[in-house]
Each structure stands twice: as C-alpha cells, then as structure tokens.
Symmetry: C2
Subunit: 281 residues, 2 copies
Amino acid sequence: MARTARSPDLGAYQHRTALKRGAKRFSLSDFDPGDKPFSSGDKTRDKAVVAKLAQDLDGLQDLFYADRRFKLLVVLQGTDTSGKDGTIRGVFGQMSALGVQTVGWKAPNDEARARDYLWRIHQRIPACGEVVIFNRSHYEDVLVPVVKGQIGKTETLQRYAQINDFERMLTETGTVILKFMLHISKDEQRARLQERLRDPNKHWKFEGGDLDARKQWDSYQQAYSYAIAATGTPWAPWTIVPADSKTHRNLMIATVVKQALEGLNLRYPPGDPSLAHIVVE
Amino acid sequence: MARTARSPDLGAYQHRTALKRGAKRFSLSDFDPGDKPFSSGDKTRDKAVVAKLAQDLDGLQDLFYADRRFKLLVVLQGTDTSGKDGTIRGVFGQMSALGVQTVGWKAPNDEARARDYLWRIHQRIPACGEVVIFNRSHYEDVLVPVVKGQIGKTETLQRYAQINDFERMLTETGTVILKFMLHISKDEQRARLQERLRDPNKHWKFEGGDLDARKQWDSYQQAYSYAIAATGTPWAPWTIVPADSKTHRNLMIATVVKQALEGLNLRYPPGDPSLAHIVVE
C-alpha cells in the first residue's frame, strides 16, 4: 500500500520495548527534530487537517465521556519551549472542559516531598470518562534529579521500575496512557527563547531557570533518552514527536490520540426506548 | 538460649515468602486463635507489660516524628469483632495525636470507584515522621469482591501483584509497612457479636452486614489465607496474631511494632550547640 500523509510509519516513532531483553538502546539523537513524517508537504493543507482533527477529537471526547469505560492520560514531556502549552491549545483546545483537565506539574511542595513522588501524581489521574493532560509529569521527578546528580544509577533504575509498575496498574484498571516526547533541536530552542525575550507579552513564560537548563542541553537529552528507553512499555508507549514545526507537532499528536480513541470502540450507553415517548410539559 | 515470654518465635507467625517459588501454601487454619505465644502465662503480668509497651511506643513515636527519615504504615485486618478498634486503643493509644493518624476504610464512594482502588489509599499514606494506622485497608478491595464472586482468579492475582508493587514502591521510598492479621475463632466471634447485641451501648458497632459476613466465615478465612499467601513479602510481611485473647493480641502487636521501630536506629536530629546559649527574655 502506498504511504500517504495520513498513514506514515508511526511505529518508527514509538518506543514500547523497554522490557525486552536485548532491545536496542534508545537515543533521541536518532530522531531529526526537523522531520515531518505526518506532513502532506503543504503547510496550509496541514493546518486544515489539524483543525479537522481537533474537531474530531472533540466529538470523540464527548463519546468517551458518555461511554465511561475508560480513562485517558496524556503525558507531554519536552524541554522548555518544546510546545507543550501549544499542543494543549492546538490539539485538545476544541474538547469540552467538561471531562478534560490539564495539570501543569511544578516542583513538589513540602507536603509532596514528605511522601513518595507518585503520591501527588496519583491524586490527579483521570476518573472514568475523563481525559487528563499532564503538562510535564512524574518523569520530571527522575529527569531533574538525574541531571542534577542527586540520584545515582541504582535509584534511577528503581524509579523507572516504580513508574512502569504504577503505569501498568493504571492501564490494568482501565486507563489508556499516551506519552509524547516533544523533540526540538537546540537551534529551534534558541530561536523560541529569543522570541520570548523580544516580546514583553511573552516574558511571563520566561524563567531564569530556562537558560540554566539550556546549558545542560546534552545532559537532558541523554536523561530523556534513558527515560524513554526504560519506560517505553507495551502498556504505556512513548511517541517521539519531531516538533521543530508546530503544525507538524500538532498534526502528529492529534493523529495518534485520534487513532487511540478510535481503537477503543467507544459507544454511547444504550438509549432507553421509553424515554423517547415522554412529553416534557 | 532459653525462650522467655519476651522472645517467642515470631518467625512462625510471619509470612513473607509470597514471591518464593515453591513457598508452602499458607493457610490461616494452621494457626490456633487461642494460642498465646507472647504471654507469660499470667494475665495480670501481661497487662502490665502491655501498658509498659504502650508507653515505650509513645517515646519511640516522639523520636520517629523528630527523626523524620521514615514513615510507618500499620495495616490491621481481621473479621468483624477481631479487635481492630481495641488494638488502636490498647497499643497505639498512648502515642501523641501529633504524628499519628488512623484511617477507617469503608466501602468506596463514587469518586473512588471512578478510579483504581489504590487511588484513595495512596492519598492517606504517612508522610515523613508520621504513623498511619489503617483500620481495614486496600486488602478489602480484593477480599470482598473475591468472596462475593465479583472478580475471578486472573483479576485477583493481578490485584495482589499490583498491591505488592505498590507496597514495594512505598518501602523503597522510606515507608515501613507492618501488616497484622487479627485471627479469632468463629466461636469467639459469636460471643463478641452476642455481647454487642446484649449491650445497647455497643449497638452502634453492630451492623446487619456483620451477620451476613459471618455466614460466609469459611469463604472469608479462605480469602484471607490466599491474600496473605500472595502478599506476605520481604518488604511488607504479614504477622498472624492469635487474637481470641485481647491482652495477648495487644502484647504481640505492641512487641512487633516496638521491635520494628527499634530496628530503625532512630535518632533526634543533632542539636545546635549555639542554641543552648540563647537566653529567652
């Protein structure tokens, strides 16, 4: 079958073999952030497709909410300026706030640090019929301490095993987990950070720590690669999203989410024939 | 070394080999609820020892709270009238409410049922320095559906694996977990239920469901046995407490908790020499 823009090879961008012995080591550097595997080659057309997909997702979310058999957890990870906020607006923006929640994870407070790092995460998982989007996630609780050298290899491995167990339990109890790594190049990040500094209306998004993290670019890329290698499981695979192009990023994520929802064979609960005869006075 | 009342063979009452291949199948019926392995043989003396132990535990909890390196989760399971409330009063009653919390788990509400069964449990785990006592626990989320025939063998096994993973994560992140099965005989339960019915001041503790559960005594004993067999792990062992005697029950549990706390080598954080010179005006 000829490949079209709508049926690219998604498998090449997904990592789900973390637990296989001898699985090839995973590295983000094998992916070009400038690639556009889901693009038609025409940006105007791509944008129209994204708009259509966002509408489709709105309809599917309505059905998902009514069906109530599943929960959907979307995890967005990526460096600063990789487009996590933009994804939420561009891909999930058409969905009804009824049944969709976004959680933006910051550094844990005292209450959370007095417990295991999954404690606050578990509290915010989706209920039946709900879609929850994590803007950053429990992965930060490994990535940041790894880059800062606060935890060693043993504890890093232990945390990823804990995360795999936690995510498996969630999927076994009805949660669909989709994890996206928004993959941009170092050059693209420079341009986006510079843009934030140029535009006073974007200053609120700029934090001094962004530049510190940028200085540790290579360490973070390595930590992300390791995280994906260790936690790309059959039940909660990672999708690597080439994200230098915002349109392509939205196109790819929207396509993956739509495919996942369609694969659930969602249905409205059966109607009650007697209700149709009721006349409301 | 001669065995005294203070050094009985605790190992015989602990189950922690759930994950060992070929581990002997565990059955509660191998334990006599009327045994008193921790007793001196003199009830008055035993009661005095319990009182002393409860005071010791108060001191240890103060130290535990100041030390803040660990969290202690005590799980009390057992049939109706097995003495869970009495244990909390008799063993933990001297501890300061500052740093000790009891959670009595009832049937989950709609909010909890819309999520995985560990969601509400995870919210109430102890923070650093805290002692949390679960009066019933996440084990009810397997025991009850098993006895009611609502889940099959596959899902039962899956839930116990999930619980083992969850408890391992908690212990890996600093929680000490002590699980106690309060083991009474069917005759002893009859006497205690009858007493509740005789005394109007105890009617508040009586529920119609207690008699239904009693009718399924054998099913529950079997379900408890299976639960203990599957979840008595090295990191979160079960202790079987012969509990027909309330004094013995308290004596045994207090001894186990004390040993566990003493094994942590708790310490007050180092004093600040400069503070001793401050004169408060």
